[in-house]
């Protein structure tokens, strides 16, 4: 009797804890049985390659949301980063200042630096003037898009070296998509930071209760600035990958990506109120979105319908999280 009770208890705990994994498993199983061509190595790797661009940013966004903030400007950062890399490379190379190989490295460095500066500005406005990041980054979304459009006018495309293409479209060992490698590396780094370092502990504390964190001697402003810079640098990196994939930079890149990025984080169980979330959950969220998208493509669902499905999915995930949180609080109160 007693052991049975314990077993039942464990199962409910388990199912609650791994709910998203279970749902994802069911969807994958269903697609395996019904969708022709879903469960092939090529298609699975294809899913990973497709989600890598938003996925890389999602891990940074996980830190930001756990830290109690948000960044809506990452889509425009992709565009600006791609344009900036291409433009700087072109400008340096065409005038013969630097050889192509070095010029593209400088271009990439400029983009990453740009991401760090944008994140720094966001963080400064947030911590110095106490403006919500929601509105700062919404404004930044427009500023960066405009900057990308201005900069790209005239010469968005440039001749880029072959190895640059490898960053966005190459294959490791002849089969493994390179963007997926970036995804896994970013996952590993952010996972280590959030679970094993002092900084990770501070992010959770700051997101859970900034005032208590401050009164515990944690430098709240520094933590917020660093996470806002991290997500921007990752967005710039994502822009580099994208520009390498298509071998050009354009201001139309990355539009609406912030939605996919935030969706992955939320589906992964991170609370929009801060303080709660797991990096692993975001990985699940990314794969989840990728699988759903892929499944819909295999079934020939149109792009417009996909938008609706994705929107509904985000709503469902938030609803599910909120209900779970409320039932947890209710259980504690009683």
């Amino acid at each position: 009797m007693n052991t049975q009770q314990r077993k039942a208890f464990n199962w409910s705990q388990f199912s609650k804890k791994y709910m998203m994994e279970i749902i994802l498993g069911c969807i994958v199983l269903a697609l395996m049985l019904t969708a022709p061509g879903f469960f092939t190595t090529g298609n699975i790797l294809n899913i990973f390659r497709n989600v890598a661009l938003a996925g890389v940013i999602s891990f940074g966004m996980t830190m930001v949301i756990i830290g109690g903030e948000i960044d809506l400007s990452v889509g425009s950062s992709i565009a600006l980063s791609a344009v900036l890399t291409a433009t700087v490379t072109g400008a340096l190379n065409s005038r013969g200042i630097l050889p192509m190989e070095t010029a593209v490295l400088v271009g990439m460095a400029c983009s990453l630096l740009m991401g760090a500066v944008v994140g720094l500005i966001n963080g400064f406005l947030r911590t110095k003037y106490n403006i919500p990041t929601f509105i700062i980054t919404l404004a930044m979304l427009n500023v960066l898009y405009g900057a990308a459009a201005l900069l790209s006018k005239g010469f968005p495309v440039t001749t880029l070296p072959d190895w640059y293409n490898w960053i966005g479209a190459g294959q490791l060992f002849g089969f493994f998509p390179v963007p997926a490698v970036w995804l896994l590396i970013t996952f590993a780094v952010v996972f280590v930071i959030m679970n094993m370092t002092k900084f990770g502990r501070q992010v959770y504390a700051v997101g859970g209760n900034p005032e208590a964190a401050r009164l515990s001697g944690i430098d709240v402003a520094k933590v917020k600035i660093v996470i806002l810079m991290t997500v921007q640098v990752l967005a710039a990196f994502s822009g580099i990958i994208l520009s390498a994939q298509v071998m050009s930079g354009s201001s139309t890149f990355g539009r609406g990506y912030e939605m996919d990025v935030i969706a992955a984080v939320i589906i992964g169980g991170t609370s929009l109120f801060g303080g709660i979330g797991k990096v692993w959950g975001t990985m699940i969220g990314i794969i989840f979105l990728g699988v759903i998208n892929n499944g819909m493509t295999l079934f020939g669902v149109g792009d417009f319908e996909k938008y609706i499905a994705r929107g509904m999915l985000i709503l469902l995930a938030v609803l599910f999280n909120t209900i779970q949180l409320q039932s947890m609080q209710k259980a504690k109160a009683s």
Binding site: G208, A212, R214, L215, G217, G275
Partner: protein, 494 residues
């Protein structure tokens, strides 16, 4: 004339009887003061009468008619109004809009502003209040807001009105203006029940005083023939103050020195020294600046002037990071919103102040982290099945111990404890005292702020009395009584 009578009210909370067979009558045409120290049951009584709580047994009668409430709204509809200390006004709306909120004069689907303002004006005139009805509440001073609150409550023509500490946030001259309004209310047919901490006000404004102690009615006296000592006697009963252990030695070594610290408008020119191993109390009423003083020394807020010397180092611009690195700890007044991250685990909370020690390279030593958590759970007797449990699974007393444990993990030199015993049970309280004394034996000094004066007398070596932002006296617990200390704090001595 009307009267409100409560008979044989009993109200139990888990573990305590908050009201024990209380029977009183309040009459209109008078200001009836309701007194009692923290935890005496006076707020519970107010909440039973205004419908926020349901009494376990007993009757409430208004002019001999028994009242039954389904909730606060129901009680309000039956004529019981309460003006709380915390303002309920909407700053962006005008005086008239606030007073008549939800009851505007309308013309079809539209608000008739002309009539609404006229109605508000006539209400204010009736009470002899001179205030521009079109002014936004955000532009009013605190006492004017308090007046608007009262006008708002009175506009519903209540039979009973509770005024909960209406003067606690007011300066002297503002108090006088508020009193003028309260005296005006006496001429209306309304039963006024006035709750206050400020004893010296009683002779000025109250006609009768009803005193509660430990959930029982200890007396009701006419202010005309009451002496301060009579009221103090009723409020405190016969208290036996327990002595602190004899082996707590204060060394000669100064660990903290504060000179002329000022942060307007909360406190001015505060100076004191704290010795190694000393337990120093700061006594004072709510709003005397005690919490703000601790926060300013800890660097949570910026002081305007003055100097702080901690452990021989002059600290120019204190902030919580610097101060905690130097060994100063603060357990804040409101542990839920300032002391703890409720959604995280006990372990994480116990380690928040000591992350520098746990991760000198940036990577957290998880074994050490677990040891840090375990050692506080053991030493402070934190009752929990495991350190991975969420903070919310703990009782108030155990949560408070986590806040203290978080700081003990940095090996502090000085601990500031702001209301350490608020909302925790008697046993946990004693355990917290024990922790303070244990630390004193190890040479760690403490500064304790508490509204419970008997606690300060029990725990501290020395008590500084703070009144309206200034240090007015220093006393030794051995040479004083609780009544003396209390009248000192409220400034009605001699």
């Amino acid at each position: 004339m009307s009267s409100l009578t409560v008979r044989n009210i009993i109200k139990n909370f888990p573990g305590t009887r908050a009201l024990d067979d209380v029977s009183i009558t309040f009459e209109s045409g008078k200001v009836n003061a309701l007194l009692g120290k923290n935890g005496s049951g006076k707020s519970t009584l107010v909440k039973v009468i205004n419908g926020a709580y349901q009494a376990d047994s007993g009757v409430i009668e208004l002019d001999g008619v028994p009242l039954e409430f389904g909730g606060p709204q129901d009680a309000f509809d039956q004529g019981i109004a309460t003006v709380y200390q915390e303002m309920s006004l909407i700053p962006g709306l005008s005086v008239a809009e606030n007073i008549l909120i939800g009851r505007y004069e309308t013309n079809g689907p539209f608000v008739d502003w002309k009539k609404t303002y006229a109605k508000a004006q006539s209400l204010l005139d009736e009470m002899g209040i001179d205030m521009p009805v079109r002014e936004l509440v955000v532009n009013l001073s605190v006492w004017q807001c308090q007046v608007v609150e009262i006008a708002k409550a009175m506009s519903c023509r209540p039979r009973v009105i509770f005024l909960d500490e209406p003067t606690s946030a007011l300066a002297q001259h503002e108090t006088q203006m508020l009193f003028r309004l309260i005296r005006e209310l006496k001429t209306k047919d309304v039963i006024i029940i006035y709750i206050t901490h400020r004893l010296q006000e009683l002779w000025e404004i109250a006609d009768t005083s009803t005193v509660l102690l430990d959930g029982r009615l200890t007396g009701k006296i006419d202010m005309a023939d009451a002496q301060p000592k009579d009221i103090l006697k009723l409020m405190f009963g016969d208290v036996t103050i327990k002595n602190r252990p004899a082996d707590l030695i204060v060394s000669d070594e100064t660990v903290l020195e504060v000179k002329n610290l000022t942060r307007k408008p909360w406190f001015r020119n505060v100076s004191f020294t704290l010795k190694k191993g000393e337990v120093l109390g700061i006594a004072g009423m709510l709003g005397s600046g005690r919490t703000e003083l601790l926060r300013a020394i800890f660097g949570a807020d910026q002081a305007d002037e003055g100097s702080i010397v901690l452990d021989g180092k002059v600290i120019d611009k204190p902030n919580p990071r610097i101060m905690s690195q130097l060994g100063l700890a603060l357990t804040p007044e409101d542990r839920k919103s300032q002391g703890l991250v409720q959604i995280l685990s006990i372990k994480e909370n116990l380690c928040h102040a000591s992350l520098d020690l746990l991760a000198p390279t940036g990577f957290v030593d998880t074994k050490l982290e677990q040891r840090y958590a375990d050692r506080q759970v053991d030493a402070l007797h934190i009752k929990t099945p495991g350190t991975d449990m969420p903070m919310t699974s703990l009782s108030g007393g155990n949560q408070q111990k986590v806040v203290v444990g978080k700081w003990l993990n940095i090996g502090p030199k000085v601990i500031f404890l702001d209301e350490p015993s608020r909302g925790i049970d008697v046993n946990a309280k004693q355990q917290i005292f024990q922790i303070i004394w244990d630390q004193s034996r190890k040479g760690v000094s403490s500064v304790v702020v508490s509204s419970e004066l008997e606690e300060l007398l029990e725990v501290c070596h020395r008590i500084i009395i703070m009144r309206q932002g200034e240090f007015v006296d220093v006393i030794c617990p051995e040479d004083t009584t609780i009544e003396e200390l209390y009248s000192h704090c409220i400034g009605s001595e001699k």
